[in-house]
Amino acid sequence: MNAENRPLPIIEVINLKKKYGRIHALKGISFSIGKGEIVGFLGPNGAGKSTTLRILSGLIPADSGEAKVCGVDLAEEEGQVRNHIGYLAENNPLPEDLRVIEYLNFRALLKGLEGSRLRDRIKIVLETCDLERKISERKIGNLSKGYRQRVGIADALLAEPRLIILDEPTIGLDPHQSAVTRKMMERLRGEVSFLLSSHILSEVEACCDRMIILSHGQIVAEGSLYDLQKRFINKTIFEIVVSGSKINIQKEVRLIDSTCELLKDDPVEASGKRRFTFSTLKGDSVAESIIKKMFQHKDLKISEFQITRPDLETIFLRATKKNWDEKDFIRAH
């Protein structure tokens, strides 16, 4: 999404700083999140993700900088912001002794819901989070981790918040349970903005519109997956699987694009085929013209061709590597 057509920001953060004793948890981060966007907050442990989320939830104050959530300035009306957001804390702590329905009832009352609206909202969130009748009558202490997570998300959805902040929502969940959480976010896409922090990069890749990568209290990368791919991986990588070739593929490719580099040359199991992996600095169009040329060769039988996209993990490692290297350098000197 371009900056021009991005909707009005739900979160606007400018130069936010936070220190714990002598440790700088946040060193002046700035970003914004538009209405209905699902944004992934990534970063290694201790990068400052949870601190940022807790500041935005109005749980802790920032040392300096400006943060507005749903138009509410956190420095002036810290408590007010909690009326607009749903928050799922890391590890999702819940009272063990209460039944699901009792807990949601208590939370709804705390959030100012009452009467028919309270009953309706509880019914809706139970449906949205697949907490059917039997589960809603069970004690939270007896629920599996997946169901507990759903209870936490149901709580976050209760008061129809404009923004939902999820701190590690799928940690410890099996793939089925993670899929349920993803589906729930998909269902609410466009209506509610999500800011979620996670270490499960495939998850973020699958459901987020944008990613913000944090390292050592600084934003090191921000944008959609496509933007990040373009920024961090400037080479186009493509694979060709061929059989029965007696010609030098590398030489043929180099004739079209001299910057092309052979990265790998592996046999494909026992098929007699070979998989060649190349990289080029000249983008997708050159890769396409190479394949066209290859098809014209009589001695070459191409069975597979694909331009591979770097996944979020590669981007994440690249984005945070520079920051880690700098830290190591500082530590060493």
Binding site: P93, L94, D97, G152
Partner: protein, 259 residues
């Protein structure tokens, strides 16, 4: 106000579903009942100068270090251990309201136990009216005075318990800290009891300390007045300010945890 009632209801519910509070209440009331029975039996030849009903107030007062920790130890310590305090404050709720709500629930529970203990003399008056009259259980002023005394001291004791619970994650540590603080408090009152320095002979600083902390160190002296129906306003104000002091400390501690 609505949120205060929600917290109060939730905390009372948590207390009523906790087996620990039932066990503590049962043993406390049973021991208090046995003590009261022997006191009534031996009252005629004892040198007890206060109305017999005050023996129950004294029993509740001296038994408080054993009872209050069971009521208050879980209110914040358990929330901190489970991490639910963070979830709780993520709702649009004021920290002061949260502290007052939790304290009110503990205080109400203490009052319930006090009311149950007052059933002993009431039963005696109902079953053996003549003996009840002889012991003065029909004097309403004794009931009112004793009730107000328990009300104000119960408030302070539960506030001390809530404060202890707010400074640790461990329920046991919270309970032991409450026990220690209440024992020290009662020890201070007991050692000050019988100090006959009258107002006219005391120095100005003594008078000032007496006015400020009158009931803090002279709690048992004040019981002599309350037990016969003499309501001392300064004692009530002293205890209310002490209660507020500990509640403010608890709120500061909870706020500090979120920094």
């Amino acid at each position: 106000m609505k949120q205060y009632l929600v917290i109060l209801k939730y905390e009372l519910f948590a207390l009523f579903i906790s087996p620990a509070t039932y066990v503590a209440t049962f043993y406390f009331l049973a021991l208090l009942g046995i003590g009261f029975r022997f006191f009534i039996e031996s009252f005629s030849y004892s040198d007890w100068i206060l109305p017999p009903l005050s023996s129950l107030v004294v029993g509740l007062l001296f038994g408080a270090p054993a009872l209050i920790p069971f009521i208050t130890m879980r209110c914040f310590a358990e929330e901190r251990r489970l991490g639910t305090l963070e979830t709780l404050v993520s709702a649009p709720i004021n920290i002061s309201l949260l502290v007052v709500g939790k304290w009110s629930a503990c205080f109400l529970f203490f009052l319930c136990i006090s009311i149950l203990s007052f059933c002993y003399p009431l039963l005696l008056l109902f079953i053996f009216p003549e003996q009840g009259y002889n012991l003065g259980f029909n004097n309403i002023e004794h009931w009112v005075g004793g009730g107000i005394y328990l009300f104000i001291f119960g408030g302070t004791f539960t506030a001390i318990g809530v404060f202890s619970s707010s400074i640790t994650k461990n329920q046991m540590v919270a309970g032991m800290l409450t026990f220690t603080l209440l024992t020290l408090y009662i020890a201070l009152m007991t050692f000050s009891f019988g100090d006959s320095t009258s107002d006219e002979y005391s120095s100005k600083p003594d008078k000032l300390i007496g006015a400020l902390f009158g009931s803090f160190n002279n709690g048992l002296v004040k019981l002599e007045q309350f037990s016969v129906g003499l309501i001392d306003i300064s004692t009530i104000l002293n205890q209310i300010s002490l209660t507020i002091f500990f509640l403010i400390l608890s709120a500061i501690q909870i706020e500090r945890l979120n920094k």
